[in-house]
């Protein structure tokens, strides 16, 4: 890996800007996401900044099962983000559809519509779990360029 791509990779790890999108959550997961962004946890330490527009964001934090109504919007928001982009599913509903799976108005988890990079289970996922999930996502990015990690899964 060249020095330039190393620098670029470093900068990506140090400045993940997030966009929060409610795909049909019961609102508890959203409150926990907001709680994770408050001064109590201070995510700006890691360079995380909440952005309001998908154009600026690198990480899409989705909460809740994807309802049929929001499916096309979620896809559109995802396509408005510029590469490289990552999706984090926050909450059990976002991971799999949770208790709402199989409802007449629910399409399923986030991964039934767009590719997901990290899953954070919990009903609702606590702020600490969310931070942990995002940090793990960043760590996996760091490790990606190496072809093999001893002991790690590929």
């Amino acid at each position: 890996m060249g020095i330039i791509s190393k620098i670029i990779n470093w900068s990506r790890l140090k400045s993940p800007w997030v966009l929060h999108f409610n795909t049909g959550a019961c609102n508890a997961c959203d409150i926990e996401i907001i709680a994770a962004l408050t001064p109590r946890y201070d995510l700006e330490r890691f360079g995380v900044v909440l952005k309001a527009t998908p154009r600026h964001a690198d990480v899409l934090l989705c909460s809740g099962p994807v309802t049929k109504q929001i499916e096309s919007r979620l896809l559109r928001i995802y396509e408005q983000m510029s590469e490289p982009k990552f999706v984090v599913a926050v909450g059990t509903c976002a991971c799999s559809g949770g208790v709402f799976n199989g409802c007449y108005n629910v399409a399923g988890g986030i991964n039934s519509v767009i590719p997901v990079s990290a899953y954070i289970p919990g009903c609702p996922a606590s702020p600490k779990a969310i931070i942990d999930g995002v940090v793990k996502l960043l760590q996996s990015l760091e490790a990606k360029p190496k072809s093999k990690r001893p002991g790690g899964k590929k």
Partner: protein, 313 residues
């Protein structure tokens, strides 16, 4: 020729401005975080943001006007970085000083606002159009008091060149106190120019997403953020040259250190104000500017005119 290139590219041109701009952004963000009882970003944060944005994929909306959309961030960055060449920062004289450069600097600092307006307008997204119109409306509110304050101080010094103003106040330290109203008003107007919190109406993210910059991403967004940083540095240096003219007769290194300290004081003041206040509405902001700031600026002009007649030179 070589010397001019050195001034434009290295000091006090682009390289210096970029480094100082990153530093200013860091100071601003860190202080903001500390005042909110947070730890705040690490020192390399602005640099990491910049590199990340530059290396991101660039999307230009189909509806947007391709050329204007791409050109405007560069124009904003260029205009605000040119202005530093007329501000005395490392000695009595600025690099390209001439009589009348106050006006040039003030207008060069207006160009970024117009660039943001045009960029936002030609993005053809509703949010960026609203943001663009707001930034232009805001311009009419803070620009008049800002101009009046700086010109009032120029009147007292009896010169239209920034180096002349700085030299005059450096010689007559006592006159500095006459401009204190102007300094406060100009500082508040600078907040409006930089779209910082009490006046961040054009990019109010809780109402209109990100204002004029809603559609910008990747490299263009990096340039816009950079031009804001440069504008902050240049605006603060302008205020420092006009209102805080101390230590100009030291050795060149001393002058530079003095200048850096003055600019940092202004940046710290900006972050304090930004932490203290919440966003105003557009009409409140315009009312405030025309009801209080503009009359105060006029008062400063009248005061300086009388002083000029009364005081011996």
């Amino acid at each position: 020729m070589l010397k001019a290139l050195f001034h434009i590219l290295i000091f006090p041109g682009l390289s210096f401005l970029f480094v100082f701009g990153f530093f200013a952004e860091y100071v601003d963000r860190k202080l903001y975080a500390r005042l909110q009882n947070r730890i705040g970003p690490p020192w390399f944060q602005p640099l990491a943001d910049f590199i990340k944005l530059i290396s991101k994929q660039e999307i230009i909306p189909e509806e947007a006007d391709n050329n204007v959309f791409k050109l405007m961030p560069l124009l904003a960055l260029a205009a605000s970085s040119v202005a530093i060449l007329y501000i005395p920062i490392s000695g009595e004289r600025s690099v390209f000083s001439f009589n009348g450069d106050v006006i040039v600097v003030l207008y060069l600092l207006t160009i970024p606002t117009f660039a943001y307006f045009l960029g936002g307008w030609y993005s053809r997204s509703v949010y960026s159009m609203i943001g663009a119109v707001r930034s232009l409306t805001q311009l009419f509110a803070y620009e008049v008091p800002l101009f009046l304050c700086i010109l009032a101080s120029a009147m007292l010094a009896d010169t239209w060149s920034l180096s002349g103003i700085a030299a005059f106040y450096n010689q007559h330290i006592g006159y500095w106190f006459c401009n204190i109203i102007g300094f406060v008003v100009a500082l508040i107007c600078l907040l409006g120019k930089l779209e910082k919190v009490p006046f961040d109406i054009p990019e109010a993210e809780t109402e209109i997403v990100a204002g004029s910059f809603t559609e910008y991403n990747g490299r263009l967004l990096a340039f816009i953020r950079m031009s804001f940083n440069v504008e902050m540095v240049v605006g603060a240096s302008l205020l420092a040259a006009v209102f805080l003219p101390f230590g100009l007769n030291l050795a060149p290194a001393g002058v530079l250190i003095c200048y850096l300290i003055q600019v940092l004081i202004i940046i710290v003041a900006i972050s304090f104000l930004r932490t203290l206040f919440a966003r105003l509405r557009l009409d409140q902001m315009i009312n405030f500017c025309w009801k209080y700031l503009a009359p105060l600026a006029f008062l400063q002009v009248l005061f300086n005119l009388t002083l000029k007649v009364v005081l011996p030179r």
